[in-house]
């Protein structure tokens, strides 16, 4: 199942662990459309922009015959100093067929400065001994 994003984001692969071959497919972006291999030790760090674009994870089952859409779970949080973060945890199986998502993790960080009011380092020290 594809996940839809709007505007500029940075997509970073932070974990990959599967017996199957996996990849991420981006479509609808301004200039980052394509397939990106996902594997242990692989570096994926891509900036994607576009009014509305989609990210899909895929896996290649043993014996093929073709790439299949993977299962994903999206979670969203706002955290300093990154800002709006969407984490895609994925599993190498057809969408909606399981409850654990441990085969890959993509951390997507919104790069829209309008969205992210990043305060910067705290210049104040309001602490008391204790």
């Amino acid at each position: 199942m594809s996940e839809t994003f709007y505007g500029p984001w940075r997509v970073v692969l932070t974990s990959a662990n599967s017996h199957f071959a996996q990849r991420m497919v981006i479509t609808g972006s301004d200039d980052a459309d394509g397939e990106y291999a996902i594997a242990f030790g692989q570096v994926v760090d891509v900036t994607v922009s576009g009014a509305e674009w989609r990210l899909e994870t895929q896996f290649f089952p043993f014996g093929g015959p073709a790439w299949q859409p993977g299962d994903t779970r999206r979670s969203t949080r706002f955290e300093a100093p990154a800002g709006l973060v969407a984490q895609i945890d994925g599993a190498a199986r057809p969408p909606g067929t399981g409850t654990t998502f441990t085969n890959l993790t993509l951390v997507c960080t919104c790069l829209d400065p309008e969205t992210n009011p990043i305060p910067g380092p705290n210049p104040y020290d309001f602490t008391i001994p204790g």
């Binding site: 505007g7 104040y124 020290d125 008391i128 001994p129």
Partner: protein, 704 residues
Amino acid sequence: MAIETVLGGAWTRKHDDPRNAHIPTTTRIAYPKSLEELIEICRDESLGRLKAAGSHWALSEAAISDETFIETHDPRNQRQAMGRTLKDVVPHCLHPELLQRMSEPSFVQEHGSLIHVEAGKRVYQLYAELDQVDPLELRPADGVQTLGAFMLDNFGTTAFEGPWGMETAGNAGGQTIVGAFSTGTHGGDFDCGPIADSVVAIHLVADGGVHYWIESSDERYWPQLTDDDRLREVYGAAKYGGDDNFRIVRARDNAVFDAAIVAAGRFGAFYSVVLRALPQYARYERRRLHVWQDVKHQILDRNGKIYRDAAILPGGYVPSTQVTSRQRFLQVAVSLTPHLNFQRNLVGVTKQWKLQLQDDPPGRAERVGDLVTALDPRLQAPRFSNAGNNFSYRYDPDDPLNAEDDPDPIALACSKGSFLAGIIEAAINEIEDFVRTNGAVVGAGIAAVAALGGGGLLLLIPALLAILIILRALLEAFDADDRFGEHMENIKNSLLDPNEPDPAKRAAGLFAWQLIVYLGFRAQQSDRDYEAISYAVTDQKDYRNISCEVNVDSVEVFFDAVDQRLIAFVDALLAFEIMQEFQGRACVGYASLRFMGPTRAKIGMQRHPTTCSVEVACLKDVSGGQEMVDYAARLALNPNIGGILHWGQHNDATAADIERLFGDPTSPANGDLGAWRAALAEVTDSGSRDRFSSDFTRRTGLEP
């Protein structure tokens, strides 16, 4: 017929800056007093485009007309309102089979009663009238029996004598009932939808003067609510344009009804509405102070304790009457100003349960009071001494079944315009003790605003001395006639001066600001347990307020309550406020989360099994407040966040936003927005009758 009209008059909203009219010169403002006059206005094409307004509480542009404004209730209460309670349909046009069913003993307990009112009745007037016991006069002076008298006369039952209450309500009753429900206004009862879902029929006058009785097909009112022949006898009369000018819309799929009940005025002007009312009841409210960072994750668990708390806890408050519901209400009020060295934010968590009505319910005398006159000519309804005319209900902490004899100064703060004085004095005392003892004495406020584990605040002691001088000067210069926002702007400017060259003084000023806001929020959201009649708990508006609620802006954003983007949205607001404080700005306001069930309205904001609204309100007098509301509105409309804006508050949505949120991506003809537009086409001759179109509806795509 001469309809009262003002040419070129100013038009402003309740929460606008009182010094400047929102629209200094309008084309025309019309004040209809009856259905007949409303039809005439809608027929008269020379009046150009039209839009009906209620009490001017909406902060959006939804009630703003391109040309002619139709007032159903003069916001200044100087002209006659369309505020009658009507008896010709309820009971006399109700379907005979329904009336028979209503006479069964279980009907009232399961489905309550019905009330039919004109569009301009304010919510506080409605709940005041509902709360009266019907004297059941079988031969009333005007010759028209009430529902209660009719049921006694024809079925021998007194079950409809009342008193009645509203199933849910917003936290202020000054809106007209139609203004409230037609913009999607809601309470915090997560076991039911917004006020619109208590509506069972609407009487709409469309462009051209054709009027529609649109009623819900609802098994509760099987086989149907009203009888067509009887309705036509009343509304097909020549004075309303005859039978050809009156249409009854009743469809199994409720397509037009579900579209028209929340429509931001685009379908036309409502003349009246039939609402469901419940047997009157009381509410028990428990509020506790917590920290946002500890509470926020509980919100995502719909089966968690925050939604399913027990009413009676060991050693806790025990209501005086039986608890008759599970927890039904939840509000989480978040302080935007951080404490604990920028790491935490206070929240007040409020929960409510339904109670059996007490014999002498607390809050009735204070929020409704005595009957002053049976028919006030301007209200076109009975006037009660305290309805819409008193402070919010305050219980006596030492005697929770009674009101306070002398409401505390904080509660009356805004009406006196000087409530901050006590808070500033408390802050001065804490800072003085801290400075005098070289940091040895740490008051509760300072201990909360600072974090343990360092000595940063000790280094600020010389700068805090300078801040004390500023705070004392502010206290001495307090003018009780100034608005709250003006006070806060003075304080903020004195404490958060971004041009202050001394970094220690800047830090000390910010610390003092956070201390003042912390103490103020803690006082306002402190622990409490009380019980009162339903409306005294839901309507917390201080109607004597002359200070706090003008020049206010607010935005309200709706999310699926179990969607993590809700939490991300609030956390982003908190980050924005920290960023502002670093830059010498600050928002005096709050983010209030309330929870509600789904709505039937096609473009209602309550689109999930449990919807959470986040209201961000600010005082525009204080720089940083408007910036916060603008940021919240921008962020909400960011499709990555996916919030829906309230139709009646700050709403910058575009047609593309509305299509994304309410439409079907496969085809604009499908989805809820497609259905809404199709229904609109039905009452506008496929869009050719477009005089209720406005800048707002065109911008938001609320067009056929």
